[in-house]
Amino acid sequence: MITATATEKETKNYINAEHGLKSWLLTQDHKRIAILYLIAVTVFFAVGGLMAVLIRMELATPAGDLLDSNTYNKVFTMHGVIMIFFFLIPSIPAILGNFLLPLMVGAKDLAFPRINLLSWYVYMLGGMFGVFVLITGGVDTGWTFYTPFSSTYSNGYVVLTAMAAFINGFSSILTGLNFIVTVHRMRAPGLTWFRLPLFVWAHYATSVIMILGTPVIAVTLFLLMLERGLHIGFFDPAYGGDPVLFQHLFWFYSHPAVYIMILPSMGVVSEVISTFCSKKPFGYTFIAFSSVAIAVFGFLVWGHHLFVSSQSAYAGMVFSILSYIVAIPSAIKVFNWAATMYKGNVRLETPMLYALGFIGLFTIGGLTGLFLAAMGLDVHLTDTYFVVAHFHYVMVGGAVMGYLAGIHFWWPKMFGRMYPQAWSKIAAGLTFVGFNLTFFPQFILGYLGMPRRYHVYPPEFQVFNVLSSAGASILGLGFLIPGIYFIWSLKYGEPAGPNPWGATGLEWQTASPPPTENFEITPVVTTEAYDYPNLVHSTIAQEVKHVG
């Protein structure tokens, strides 16, 4: 096993293999494409975050004093569109998945390197449409594009925005396709399905949703564009359409899309918790199959968004019970993660702090989903801030915390450098505290009855809005600090060595950063996944060499 030495800086790796902008823009190396995604996704996250800052500043007072109504509506729409289509959906799969999947299965690259590069360009093309809309005047439909408002009444750039999401969808499909083929065809000798890291299982399940679900949103947005542009009636009753049909089609993709965002995050958390307990995840097969169960049942619950939309009560019942059933695999995962810590060797390094934060926030996010699946209660809660709080607990508390856990976990692998431990732990703490202060008051606001997407609100809601805005400023700081120390670490960080955390995956058995071809010789897998007893720990810090 290679150990961390100063001379390692000199070795060839994927970063210094070639130089110049062209070598990056035309690369077919999955690791370099992951870096391209990292840069683009981070920019979109910053833009979407800026929108969130404006929203929380506006809502600090009940009056519409900072933004006018039209501007506010455009701001929350762009926040949603950017964060969902250009940040959350690609974040973990396209950055960490791209970088790690071939490494984890012991392959030289993804199955289709050119398609992988194409998917980045498609993503960027979609992104350009989004940026164009943002600069030229925006759109005010909300990210849900509900008809007939979007198709007939909105004054914004609906077609261009729908086009942005439409194009971006093809990027998802290409990535999903690449991952599925890679997992099937490119596994190293001896790496059977049940020796795969749980990260790979999670990405496999995610990819299935991507290739089955994304075409539906593409068709739906295409119909929306036809109705808006050519007045062909699908959704607007004035043209003989049905407005609720759009909601069915939209959520048929967009509910599974929630699992596109959260499943990869669950994969990250499984890896991180196992590593920082030096213990195989408890219930490996249960965690693996719960990912698959979520992917399957996730397609059958879309109607729980329509309990007050005139959907048949009996259809509603079916969607309600299936929504409870899809919650069970998530519960299984949470219990298994907690059980993994039992009699483990728990080290509270930064990635572990984020992963534990994920467990706490995702648990609350998941449990509050049960409130919304209860039909009689959802009638009161739907379209209020309770829903806003719930999905931010899942998507920020879950998906983003998982993403940050993953970035902190694999940063040393991606760039060969460590980041400052003290600062990163402070950032993890600020993120957790800031997040809860931002979004927990919104549960209370929701039950009090404050509707979402309200620019002006009655004064009795102000207390909780002020708390929320205060929390958002702490959360913003929690997101800003890593941006600074990550950039700092690229030049000044301590060399990480191949396996700074004492992890078991194949990706830790090659150099950091890995060479272009990933492994000098194709690894042969002879042990089960997470085989800590046979792992030789060689860590940067004060850890002693140890055979478990």
Binding site: S320, A327, I328, F335, M341, G344, V346, G376
Partner: protein, 364 residues
């Protein structure tokens, strides 16, 4: 009450359904708090108890989770959440079915949403904007539609809401339990002034409500206004009814509301609000058996408010023997001044003689 204190954790409960919604909410909070605290405790406790001390050898890995004990744990933490969630499911459904089915004895109020206001019509003829006056202790059923985009009529104090859709009628019902003023919010994003599409429910004592109704518009009941519209649009030139002795070129409307109508294509349809609306705007869509595609569309000639009046008029047309029902159970009844005429017998209508009034029509 709306002018309530600036800090509150729970909204006022002012309808019969509010208590049961709050009960389910409390149950869910208890379950969620238990599991959140359990997980938080386990994570923090394990993180402390099993922390790895630098310089100390790693703990040997404990038992394989595929042991019998591991499997038992998996079954337990799959089974208990599943059982609890089934309780939530059944509880939620039972409340929903109460919410979704207006009682037969409800007094009816009509709501039209448009960007960005609520227009409300009472059977007795009173009209209001962004305000809804109702008596305490009475079941109130709202029949709602939209002139443009989707809206949603939400009264947090009553714990109920329903989408208000263009081209469709949806219903919502409640029984207020406390005199007071409560928020109406539009809960479905509807464009620029979405957050300005708000209003107030005034829950009044029956006596105050009667007085309020008495100071009404003077335009007559909704059915009377509907009849005026009916005549103005010339509907009576073809449609036989108790007030028009026509030759039966078009179906007789007496008692048609709430009945099943046989259609030309052999199927049948319940003559509810949606069917009447469709027949006025898209007459060729579902033609009554025995009639030709004769009627022109009235699309563009009638507003959604007007449509509701027409529907109320059709509802008020009694059985074929010529009794006009004032289709309201409100205590204050405006007298109908319609002359009662004997309708011409219509042999081929296939319509039952008496239609139940106030029958539940449409669902959420």
């Amino acid at each position: 009450m709306m002018e309530a204190k600036s800090f509150q954790l729970f909204p006022e409960a002012a309808s019969t359904i509010a208590g049961s919604v709050d009960g389910l909410y409390a149950f869910l909070i208890l379950v969620s708090a238990f599991f959140s605290l359990l997980i938080a405790f386990l994570v923090v406790f394990f993180a402390y108890k099993y922390r790895h001390r630098p310089g100390v050898a790693f703990r040997p890995i404990p038992v394989d989770d595929h042991s019998a004990g591991g499997m038992l744990l998996e079954i337990v933490w799959t089974g208990i959440p599943l059982g609890l969630s089934m309780i939530m499911f059944v509880w939620g459904v039972s409340i929903y079915f109460t919410e979704a089915r207006p009682p037969a004895n409800s007094m009816e109020v009509y709501v039209t949403g448009k960007q960005w206001m609520w227009k409300i019509q009472h059977m007795e003829g009173a009209r209001e904007i962004n305000e809804l006056h109702i008596p305490v202790g009475r079941n109130v059923k709202l029949t709602m539609t939209s002139e443009d985009v989707i809206h949603d009529f939400f009264i947090p104090a009553f714990r109920t809401k329903a989408d208000v859709l263009p081209g469709k009628y949806t219903t919502e019902w409640f029984q207020a339990t406390k005199v007071g003023q409560y928020h109406i919010f539009c809960a479905e994003y509807c464009g620029t002034k979405h957050s300005g599409m708000i209003g107030t429910v005034y829950v009044m004592s029956q006596a105050d409500y009667n007085a309020w109704l008495g100071s009404g518009s003077g335009e007559g009941s909704m059915a009377e206004q509907g009849q005026a519209l009916f005549n103005q649009l010339g509907c009576g030139n073809c449609h036989a009814s108790i007030v028009n002795n026509q030759n039966g070129r078009c179906p007789n409307l007496n008692g048609v509301f709430g009945s099943r109508v046989d259609l030309k294509d052999g199927s049948s349809v319940k003559a509810d609000e949606a069917y009447i609306r469709e027949s006025v705007l898209y007459p060729q869509a579902r033609i009554v058996a025995g009639y030709d595609d004769y009627m022109p569309t009235f699309k563009g000639l009638i507003t959604e408010d007007g449509m509701l009046k027409l529907i109320e008029y059709v509802k008020s047309l009694g059985a074929k023997n010529g009794v006009i029902n004032s289709a309201t159970s409100a205590p204050v009844q405006t007298s109908t001044s319609t002359p009662q005429q004997k309708a011409k017998p219509q042999g081929r209508m296939g319509v039952p003689a008496a239609a139940p009034l106030g029958a539940p029509a449409g669902n959420r």
